[in-house]
């Protein structure tokens, strides 16, 4: 009992960190501010563990309880309180938020080294952690919404952290606006709950869900789903996430991989009784949006050159898996994948940050290669992350993904097929990334003496986006490896110093996360229900709303084998294309085919090939992006049209008043029945 009273500490510590940094951040400076923030997160993690232990002590049926701190908004009959809703789900979320969060804070101490706004960065990080914890712990929809908006705002601030760069600032802008669309859905849902149930506290919503009419439940569920796809970057509102990679890498890891983007999944899991009441089309819609997003984003990831963009699309894709799981009623696998994903995706992002750091802010994978020699720890941990996401047993990703695919199979084999293809693509593009970055030849040279070359490098970074076009040229450069080493060559990246391993503050979190990514699967082992720790833990939250599947063990094993084979196939293809050729540069034909990976994909996979991936990319850029911008253009146009009425002539305005008066008079007199 005493342990459970510590709940308030979980969000309070990051908040305290935030306030302290606001007051004395500049005084603390580097690295004091970073350590303070990290300590607060670690403390929060400690509190969470304490609460977790306290909850474990209780019998299962008593594990859900609300704790009201104070009356927040006494207005009319809707007294909305400020309190925490502690249950296995929120505690599980808090555990990995604070745990992974602590590691990322620690990592940031090294990563943000030398930044002029060092303390400000940690101030935002702590504020983010506070908001995220409020989102998860809040005992009513409004409190969750506040956290929801809070994380959005922090994300906005952090993406725009280097706000002098117009591209980055505008990425923040996009995130802000897209999220508002999702938030609109959330707000509608809140008001619908208020109208239908007269309350928005989870206690009453979840217990009252059964009394909702089907239409109301559908409306609420659909609106929450809209909110969720905005925050969790699902089709078509995902556009902000890849752009959000403009922010510092720890931000990408914390916000855009591990925590914030999963809040949509959390929300849908939280309100599972409402989804259960809603019309039957809701769940398949969620599943198909998830599956579609997963596949779609994976195809885009295949053709990305920016090391972080690959991971960004990969995140969108993995979130798609979670939605797929929610859609088929597999809440436990969704949460399971959310947790393992937090481990390995944070690991991959932090690893990529370490690479970028070591490569002196280079993000283009075509200018890397062979880095395992320079940064062994990063490489080793990154490889762990890669194997995890590729679904290679016994790494954690295998278990969670397999579970989702299993439920998908039980629900609708078509969903399973989409999931499987996605798994293959995932393995492929992740392998591609690993091979391009850590293996093969070094596609850069080190020239510590010539300062002038750093300028060349800086100029090269600018056209990273147009790099697709220079692909051919680069391939030719590699065809003639003897010239590739020449520092004078325009297309070869020149570093002013050798790539280096990152400091311990950065590698320690990598190692820790790698450990988690390896063993994370242990919380929910397949085949025997005795080992379904997570499912047992979450049972009080989900009750009967969790889908029950009846699949023979043989089928289960078969599905798992197929999934593993798909993953291995993806790796093999990537190996053949990106590595074989490099090891064997004497075979120009293979090399050529290999480098032109688009053609290779066509021949190997018999799939849509480059055109298909390009099309996906183009669709992303033009249609979806365009639609988002188009809404803005529509608003502007209608405003522009109205502008004509605002002519500046006082007599026109007077006419408007007179006309309004006539309309009002006419309306009122029309009420008179003669």
């Amino acid at each position: 009992m005493e342990l459970l009273d510590l709940v308030w500490l979980i969000p309070a510590l990051p908040l305290a960190g935030f306030l302290l940094l606001v007051l004395g951040g500049r005084l603390l400076g580097e690295p004091g501010a970073g350590w303070l923030a990290t300590a607060m997160m670690a403390g929060s993690f400690g509190a969470t563990v304490a609460v977790f232990v306290g909850l474990l002590d209780r019998p299962e049926e008593e594990r859900v309880f609300g704790q009201t701190l104070f009356e927040w908004m006494p207005i009319g009959g809707w007294d909305i309180d400020f309190g925490f809703y502690v249950d296995p789900l929120s505690v599980a979320m808090c555990l990995f938020i604070t745990g992974v969060g602590t590691l990322i804070h620690l990592y940031s101490v090294g990563y943000m080294h030398g930044d002029v706004n060092f303390s400000k960065f940690f101030l935002y990080l702590n504020l983010f952690a506070f908001s995220m914890l409020m989102l998860v712990l809040g005992d009513n929809l409004l409190l969750t919404f506040l956290g929801w908006e809070g994380v959005g705002a922090c994300s906005y601030f952090l993406i725009s952290f280097w706000f002098t760069d117009p591209e980055k600032a505008s990425a923040g802008k996009k995130a802000f606006v897209t999220n508002r669309i999702g938030d609109w859905g959330f707000m509608v849902a809140i008001f619908a709950c208020l109208a239908a149930l007269g309350s928005i506290s989870y206690d009453e919503i979840l217990s009252g869900a059964g009394s909702l009419s089907g239409t109301t439940a559908t409306l609420i569920a659909a609106c929450l789903f809209v909110g969720a796809i905005g925050k969790s970057a699902q089709f078509p509102l995902y556009v902000w996430l890849p752009d959000a990679m403009a922010g510092p890498t720890p931000v990408s890891a914390l916000i855009h991989a591990a925590t914030m983007v999963t809040s949509g999944v959390y929300l849908l899991t939280r309100v599972n009784p409402i989804i259960a009441e809603a019309d039957t089309w809701i769940q398949p819609t969620i599943a198909w949006v998830g599956a579609g997003t997963a596949l779609f984003a994976a195809t885009i990831a295949v053709s990305q050159k920016d090391i972080k963009k690959v991971l960004a699309y990969s995140t969108v894709s993995q979130l798609g898996y979670m939605f797929l799981a929610v859609g088929v009623g597999a809440y436990v696998p969704a949460v399971f994948h959310m947790i393992t994903h937090a481990f390995f995706k944070a690991l991959l992002f932090l690893g990529s940050g370490s690479v970028i750091h070591g490569m002196h802010e280079e993000q283009d994978m075509t200018r890397m290669g062979g880095l395992r020699k320079y940064m062994p720890i990063t490489a080793a941990t990154f490889i762990v992350g890669w194997l995890a996401i590729a679904g290679v047993p016994p790494f954690s990703g295998f278990f969670s993904k397999d579970e989702i695919l299993l439920y998908a199979w039980a629900e609708n084999p078509a969903l399973w097929v989409v999931g499987l293809v996605t798994a293959l693509l995932t393995a492929f593009y992740m392998s591609r990334q690993v091979f391009l970055v850590f293996f093969g030849d070094e596609r850069f040279t080190v020239d510590a003496d010539h300062d002038a070359h750093t300028e060349v490098a800086a100029a090269d970074e600018g056209d990273a986006d147009t790099a697709l076009d220079t692909e051919g040229a680069e391939a030719e450069a590699l065809e003639h490896p003897d010239t590739a080493g020449a520092p004078q060559h325009d297309d070869v990246h020149v570093l002013h110093a050798a790539p280096h391993e990152s400091p311990w503050t950065m590698t320690l979190p990598l190692v820790a996360l790698a450990g988690l990514a390896i063993v994370g699967g242990a919380i929910q082992l397949p085949f025997t229900s005795d080992l379904h720790f997570l499912a047992d833990w979450l049972h009080p939250v989900l009750g009967d709303n969790e889908a029950h599947i009846d699949v023979a063990t043989g089928t289960k094993v078969g599905l798992a084998v197929v999934a593993v084979l798909a993953g291995l196939t993806g790796i093999a293809i990537a190996y053949a294309i990106y590595l074989r050729r490099m090891r064997d540069p004497i075979e120009p034909a293979i090399l050529e085919e290999g480098w032109r990976y688009d053609r290779a994909i066509t021949s190997f996979m018999g799939g849509p090939g480059r055109a298909g991936f390009e099309a996906a990319s183009n669709f992303d850029r033009t249609v979806v992006d365009g639609a988002v911008n188009g809404v803005g253009a529509l608003v502007r146009r209608s405003g522009g049209g109205l502008r004509g009425l605002q002519s500046g002539f006082v007599r026109n305005y007077a006419l408007g008043i007179a006309g309004g008066a006539v309309l009002l008079l006419a309306y009122f007199l029309a009420q008179v029945t003669l």
């Binding site: 207005i75 009319g76 809070g150 802000f176 606006v177 405003g639």
Partner: protein
């Protein structure tokens, strides 16, 4: 000598005896102390200036004005105390001319707050523009006294007089920067349209008088409850005309067209007052008329407010997005905000009144702070208001940019700021009253308007900063008064955003006792 005097006065005494003395009503003085404080301070300031010819010390006028406004607000305490006493409750005073209830007290405080903010802003502004003098402060106080009258008005004639007191002073203030062509234009546009609209209002009073035989809202209410006036065109036409005048004052579409022009042209501190105090007074009048006098005719006016609210929300949001002048943007955004208050008003419930009171109170500080920044950035001549003038502000004056961003986000309805709860309550009130489409439109326009606030913020924080320009911006002077005003506004915005009950509590207490409700 005495005899002569007696002879001279005899006829007068005879005349006195011929008539009954008029039984003048009892004057409950304590109920009008806030009003007397405001008017007394204005007249005192004027007299003092006539004697001394220059302020007693620098910053005397704004200080005196703020003290008077704060004093007026403080003087509402005994009234509030008495109203909250369950044994006594709200009452009418001065022969039924004013309703002394929580609502009037609350709105009085809101209006006084807007005076404080505007007066603090005006200090630096007047010095900068070379317009030194007490007139602005005097007119501000007098105008606010009109607002206070409106907030308490229990009689349509009193309401009308309050409105005229409020408006005439503001017309003059809008035109006060005589060197600016746009200020003159703002003055005359506001004046012509304002007097046009108040003629409609007056005609509405006349028709209502014809239909009910009284101009007193309580009498109207009791008459309408006793004598069912079904299908009474006179009454309905009167209501329509009254709405024209009041909706004009709160800048609701289609009576909004003056707002952007006047806001853009008028001196910035005056606009701060117009957008907060004048608007609050306008809504106070509107709510009094609709909720008190015509509460039994709810079914007739509710759809009208509903439609006007939708139009206002959309016009405000859509037009704001296409502007390039920040002052004009905020003018349109104030129209959008008025739409939100109307969303609450149309609910025709107690919760609706609470929500609109909360909205007006928090908006007063939001808009006051925003126009404080605009005043500062406008620089000498009060004409640097384009988006370009805000480019790179974050680099030159980070604190200023941060505060502005906060206020703008609050206007956008971002959580942890007062603006969020303001919008939340307004929409919740509409949902509670079953107006779902309206609530949806309101939320939609909030999304659209978010573009606008973001646009300003982005240009402050990003902007291809012309480095040559920064030193000049770094010297942007922030007068003491404006700084104090900004601090007040930020504290209120954040404070209410985190602890909304500091405002919902009084708002709730205030409406429970709106006379006749």
């Amino acid at each position: 000598m005495h005899a002569l005097l007696a002879n001279l006065t005899a006829p007068l005494q005879a005349a006195d005896e011929a008539f009954d003395p008029i039984p003048t009503p009892e004057i409950e003085w304590f109920t009008i102390v806030p009003l007397l404080v405001l008017v007394g301070a204005a007249l005192g300031l004027m007299t003092l200036t006539a004697i001394t010819r220059r302020p007693l010390f620098g910053g005397f006028y704004p200080l005196a004005t703020s003290v008077a406004a704060i004093g007026a607000a403080v003087c509402t305490w005994p009234i509030w105390d008495r109203i909250q006493d369950p044994e006594r409750g709200p009452f009418t005073a001065l022969a039924g001319a004013i309703g002394v209830d929580g609502f009037s007290v609350f709105m009085t405080v809101v209006i006084c707050s807007s005076v404080v903010v505007a007066a603090l802003l005006a200090d630096g502004y007047l010095k900068r523009e070379g317009l030194d003098g007490p007139e602005l402060y005097v007119l501000l106080l007098l105008s606010a006294s009109g607002g206070v009258v409106m907030a308490a008005a229990n009689d349509l004639i009193v309401l009308f007089l309050g409105l005229e007191i409020l408006s005439l002073a503001v017309y003059t203030l809008a035109a006060m920067h005589l060197r600016r062509v746009t200020s003159q234009e703002a003055g005359i546009k506001y004046f012509v349209l304002g007097s046009f609209a108040s003629a409609f209002l007056l005609y509405g009073i006349a028709l209502t008088y014809g239909a009910t035989g009284s101009t007193n809202l309580v009498e109207i209410l009791s008459y309408l409850t006793q004598v069912a006036l079904f299908d009474n065109g006179l009454l309905l036409a009167g209501m329509a005309m009254l709405l024209v005048g009041l909706l004009f004052k709160v800048a609701a579409a289609p009576f909004h067209a003056w707002t952007p022009d006047v806001y853009q042209g008028a001196p910035s501190p005056v606009v701060a007052y117009m957008a907060s105090g004048v608007k609050a007074a306008g809504f106070a009048g509107l709510i009094r008329v609709l909720y008190l006098g015509f509460q039994t005719y709810r079914v007739d006016w509710q759809p009208v407010i509903y439609a006007v609210a939708i139009l206002t929300l959309l016009v405000g949001a859509l037009m704001a997005v296409v502007q390039t002048d920040v002052k004009r943007m905020l003018a349109y955004s104030s129209i959008n905000h008025a739409g939100f208050v109307l969303v609450a008003v149309q609910a025709a419930t107690e919760r609706g009144v609470q929500a609109s009171m909360f909205y007006l109170a928090s908006y007063t500080f939001l808009v006051g702070g925003s126009f404080a920044i605009i005043t500062i950035v406008g620089r000498t001549g009060d004409d640097r208001h384009s988006l370009d003038d805000y480019r790179g502000l974050a680099k030159a004056r980070p604190a200023l940019a941060l505060v502005f961003a906060l206020l703008l986000f609050s206007q956008a309805g971002v959580p942890f700021t007062s603006g969020f709860f303001a919008k939340f309550y307004a929409i919740a009130a509409a949902v509670d009253a079953g107006s779902y489409p309206l609530a949806a439109v309101a939320m939609l326009t909030a999304v659209i308007a978010a573009f606008l606030y973001l646009r300003i913020t982005v240009s402050m924080f990003l902007g291809d900063v012309d480095d040559a320009d920064i030193p000049e911006r770094r010297t942007l002077p922030v007068p003491v008064g404006a700084a104090i005003a900004l601090v007040i506004c930020v504290v209120v915005t954040l404070g209410v955003g985190i602890f909304p009950h500091v405002l919902t509590g009084p708002a709730g207490d205030a409406t429970a006792v709106l006379v006749g409700f």
